[in-house]
Amino acid sequence: MKQARIVLRSVEKRFATRSGTTVALAAVDLEIRGGEFVCLVGPSGCGKSTLLNILAGFDFPSRGSVEIDGAIVDGPQRRVVTLFQSYGLFPWRSVLRNVEYGLEVSGVPRRQRRDQAMQCLDLVGLSSFAEHHPHELSGGMQQRIALARALAVDPECILMDEPFGALDAITRIKLQEELARIWEEKRKTIICVTHDIEESVFLADRILVMATNPGRVKTVIPVPLPRPRSRTSPEFDELRRRVYAELELVHDSKPDFEI
């Protein structure tokens, strides 16, 4: 199984708007190892989705280059699959036929794609829902189907844009655990945008903290915790505190007043 190694060289992205140009990304330099799990966190508008879209080939940098396994990204490709917050399942297809989609359009024979899709459904624990339609499933189940659909084409890299953002806290934690398990089994390169700081500490090998105006990677925080991770360990807490601090959401300075 191959995993993507991703290299960004001074990637810049500008959008022309009515009030001038927005610098969504300013000179991002980045290397991601094959099989690495990277989380992107940062304030709204700092260019996380923009960066992900460029990696996916849905958009192109205004300057600089993006290489995946030594090849310049020049459009969407099957080996780099994106998961979206709103799942994007095909409502008219059964769960199984959704998962089969990528294999179907690449000409995999019916029997084989059925088997492969069932294996991926098994992996996300939903093989008993193969004949259901997406609207019959909860949001968490739908996102697991979307994950199975991505895994079915055996991509080298999976990009996720706030994949669990629309889910409730408990479902989100369950899915994080499931994702961690699947990642350890498959060792795909995963780049995941999240607003959930605990999620980033739980999942990532490295957390990229981004800042806005202009959009850039501000700090890289390695997460050297052993897996499976415990959310309640002091080390976990310490790292979570660091991410908060980098996002300037905690104030270490003493208050101006005394009690």
Partner: protein, 305 residues
């Protein structure tokens, strides 16, 4: 659909009468079953059934009564406004000699040919125009220009170019139903969720696969709505189209009855046009609901019962 299936309240059910000695045991079972059925029809079910059927029927009954009253008022002669009985009598006559079926059959045949042509062409062109943004920008003005023109305005030219008979009738019906089919398909294709297109591209789908496996199914429910509207328009203009020298059909029946001053027959033809139109509408409505159900997520618009 829609309303949850309320568990019927069995209510106080009388014990079935003791069967006479020697009665066959399956007869006993049958009778027990029948009594259970009967007792499970509760008052609320009866009122709901009455509500469901009686209310719409009462509107029709009111219309018939008003009609009868107008016929009796003496304001019009029986030749001008025949009452319901006379009209049904005229209907029975053409029903008995089979001419009614000839006319309904001829109308349905023209309708089906024109509607199938308009639907096929409208949906196909709609897919192309909806998918190819620039092509649509080129043709949108043409469509906007032609669409508001009533098919009736084309009558003289239809006769001039196509003669009289079947062809101009079909052309008029085609014109009436083509634009709704075309425009709703264009709108449906343009409204396909861009996220789904993005995902399709992500999986390396060819353009052919994107159109056939994503755009067409995603647009289908809205296309079905357009085809429903087109069907209504087609039926409305069928009668007009058949006045262009057709020798059969419900439109011809209306013209023929007028020429012979058979107002009873004329009114009966009007009734048949309404009833067949209603039946066609119900049929496509049922087909539409099935499509929506197969599509799952999207609830049928107006699917309230």
């Amino acid at each position: 659909m829609g309303a949850p299936p309320y568990a019927a309240d069995p209510g106080p059910s009388p014990q079935p009468a003791r069967p006479a000695e020697g009665e066959a045991s399956d007869a006993i079972a049958l009778r027990a079953l029948a009594s259970r059925r009967a007792s499970s029809v509760t008052a609320s079910q009866v009122t709901r059934a009455l509500d469901r059927w009686l209310v719409p029927v009462s509107g029709i009954a009111a219309l018939v009564l008003a009609w009868e009253a107008a016929a009796w008022s003496g304001r019009w002669t029986a030749e001008q406004l025949p009452g319901p009985i006379a009209v049904l009598g005229a209907g029975a006559q053409i029903l008995a000699d089979g001419t009614l079926f000839v006319h309904v059959g001829a109308s349905l045949a023209r309708f089906l040919v024109a509607y199938a042509l308009a639907g096929t062409l409208g949906v196909t062109l709609g897919l192309v125009f909806g998918w190819r943004e620039r092509l649509w920008r080129a043709f949108d003005p043409v469509v906007q220009l032609l669409r508001p023109v009533s098919p009736i305005a084309w009558f003289p030219l239809a006769v001039l170019w196509l003669g009289i008979g079947d062809v101009p009738a079909i052309a008029i019906i085609f014109l009436a139903s083509f634009f709704p089919a075309l425009l709703s398909t264009v709108a449906a294709v343009r409204r396909v969720d861009p996220l789904l297109l993005r995902i399709a591209r992500n999986f390396g789908s060819s353009e052919r696969d994107i159109v056939l496996k994503v755009v067409v199914p995603a647009a289908f429910p809205q296309v079905a709505v357009g085809l429903h509207i087109a069907l209504g328009a087609a039926w409305v203009y069928l009668v007009a189209g058949e006045m262009l020298g057709a020798r059969s059909g419900l439109g011809f029946l209306v013209m023929d009855a007028r020429n012979f001053l058979r107002t009873d027959l004329l009114l009966f033809a009007v009734l048949v046009i309404g009833v067949v139109g209603l039946a066609l509408d119900k049929a496509i409505g049922a087909a539409e609901r099935r499509i929506y159900r197969a599509w799952g997520a999207v609830p049928a618009p107006g699917d309230v019962t």
